[in-house]
């Protein structure tokens, strides 16, 4: 443990900051009853407790007994995240940690389903009205095939998944479930409108990229458009598109944009092969999408980004850091998502050489890099959003990366690459 982290932990012990973050209730959301709301709050509180009250003990337990037992049995010290996993899985402390973490995830979705299911008829009416307010296009093809990497498992244990399997493929219920559920999942770290990632990347573009002002923007894997809307807000003259493989998410996204008074286009498309013309966009972005694709899809997605970008255009993908940027124990904790949270590509994606993939896709080699887009969470406190106190927001913005949390400390890791300007 480095000195800075030790002092931060000591500080947190003396003055624990309570997570009082509250989602802004826009008209497209399902409205919870008081008891439904209390169950949802409990799921968020339980996640917070697992993170702050249980997870920090994993390191000491590993060093004090799990690593020693592994050494006795294997005749060598644990070398990588796979060894650490073997050492920890039989340990009762880890078992409680992983079991309760999983239960928290399940309770979270179940508590939101209560609201969505009960409120659905009224929600569908509100959604239709809000969708009508959005002058952007809504394109849902009749014969769309949802890729296996999204359809095979219900990612992060959301019942029905992004795209649904039965009647839920047609409606907006799974979009409403995701909108509220992922706020609790992220424990409010991504802001009252769940848009910190998009907002942070927009800020990064405005402050760091020398006046780059995109005219056409594509957000890949947009789900309900949490990250998409800040692009329209901060680049109001731009034509903004959000695409996703899941129709329920896209329909809900269109209505949600309408509820925010924004004209944004949404389409059910696969990022591996979109319907857009060559060179149509000057900015292509994604937010926590790549780790939910596959080893085969990722090179195709990078190639598609290159194809739809105009010469000089930028590709920016915001996801969690690659494994080579962190120590094996942190890797092990993050990799629990692969095994326990229906995230089959979570670990493998972090082992890929994304810089090399971008080169192969044709991006200008000397422009390809990882960088950090600082979190916009302090802006929410400045706006006095409900529950976003200065202290609570500061605790999120100022902390170090903590594996297992949805949002990394301080900033989002972004992969940036530029398409060569026309000769």
């Amino acid at each position: 443990m480095c000195a800075a982290r030790a002092s931060l932990a000591a500080k947190q012990k003396v003055t624990p900051v309570l997570n009082t973050f509250q989602q802004a209730m826009h008209p497209a959301l399902a409205q919870p009853t008081p008891d439904e709301g209390a169950r949802q709050e409990f799921a968020k509180s339980l996640k917070q407790f697992v993170q702050q009250g249980i997870l920090p003990g994993l390191g000491p337990v590993f060093r004090a007994r799990a690593a020693r037992r592994f050494e006795r049995e294997a005749g060598r010290a644990p070398a990588d995240r796979h060894d650490i996993r073997k050492a920890m899985v039989p340990d009762p402390y880890f078992q409680h940690y992983a079991a309760v973490n999983r239960v928290a995830q399940e309770l979270l979705w179940d508590s939101v389903i209560d609201s969505v299911d009960r409120d659905l008829p009224a929600l569908e009416t509100r959604t239709a009205a809000n969708s009508a307010r959005n002058r952007g296009k809504l394109l849902i093809p009749d014969d769309f095939e949802v890729p296996r990497y999204v359809a095979a498992l219900d990612i992060h244990c959301m019942p029905g998944g992004y795209s649904g399997r039965g009647a839920d493929r047609d409606g907006i219920a799974l979009g409403a479930l995701y909108d509220r559920g992922v706020y609790l999942y992220s424990m409010g770290y991504t802001g009252p409108n769940n848009d910190d990632m998009g907002r942070s990347v927009c800020n990064y573009i405005k402050r760091r990229l020398d006046g780059f002002t995109p005219k056409r923007i594509l957000d890949m894997g947009c789900t309900v458009g949490h990250s998409t809307l800040p692009y329209k807000e901060l680049f109001p003259d731009a034509e903004v598109w959000g695409i996703d493989v899941a129709a329920p998410q896209i329909r809900f996204a269109h209505a949600r944009a309408g509820a925010f008074g924004l004209d944004v286009n949404f389409a059910q498309m696969n990022a591996e092969a979109t319907d857009f013309d060559d060179g149509y966009f000057d900015l292509v972005v994604s937010h926590i999408m790549l780790h939910e694709t596959s080893g085969k899809a990722m090179p195709k997605i990078f190639a598609e980004c290159h194809r739809v970008l105009a010469p000089g255009g930028l590709m920016i993908h915001a996801d969690l850091p690659p494994f080579d940027l962190m120590d094996p124990f942190t890797q092990f904790i993050l990799d629990n998502e692969t095994y326990y949270n229906n995230e089959p590509f979570w670990g493998a994606m972090r082992d890929l050489d994304q810089i090399a993939l971008a080169k192969v896709a044709g991006f200008q080699a000397d422009t390809i890099r990882f960088d950090t887009a600082p979190m916009a969470v302090m802006e929410f406190a400045a706006q006095a959003a409900a529950g976003y106190s200065e202290a609570a927001a500061d605790a999120v913005a100022d902390r170090e990366f903590t594996a297992g949390e949805f949002a990394p400390g301080g900033g989002w890791e972004v992969l940036i690459a530029r398409k060569a300007a026309a000769a």
Binding site: A38, A99, I113, L153, D154, C157
Partner: protein
Amino acid sequence: MSEGMTRSAQGKRPHFYETPALDQMMSMIMVLAGEVSVLADHIDSIERVAAANGLDLRAGIASLALDQVALEEREARRQALLGRLFYLMRKEAAEAEAAETAEGYAAVIDEIAVG
């Protein structure tokens, strides 16, 4: 619940304990903890709504002096709660007292079958 949204996420659920029943026990304990939390929130809401309408329940509760009847009712309720919570230990002690065993139970099944 045949109607409504699915409550089951597709994908085999992992187990975390050597004894599978413990996974279910832990989920039940967490659900119950959640319901306790919901009730606590609800009581808090009652107090705040009453206060907003001029009735300071919180101060009234703080200054409430319990008379003998109330003391007895509360202690009886707490003991009854603990009795329910530890019913399996009560059963275990009773079995020891009556020398009841699994073998004895099996013997009764056999005996009744032919008796």
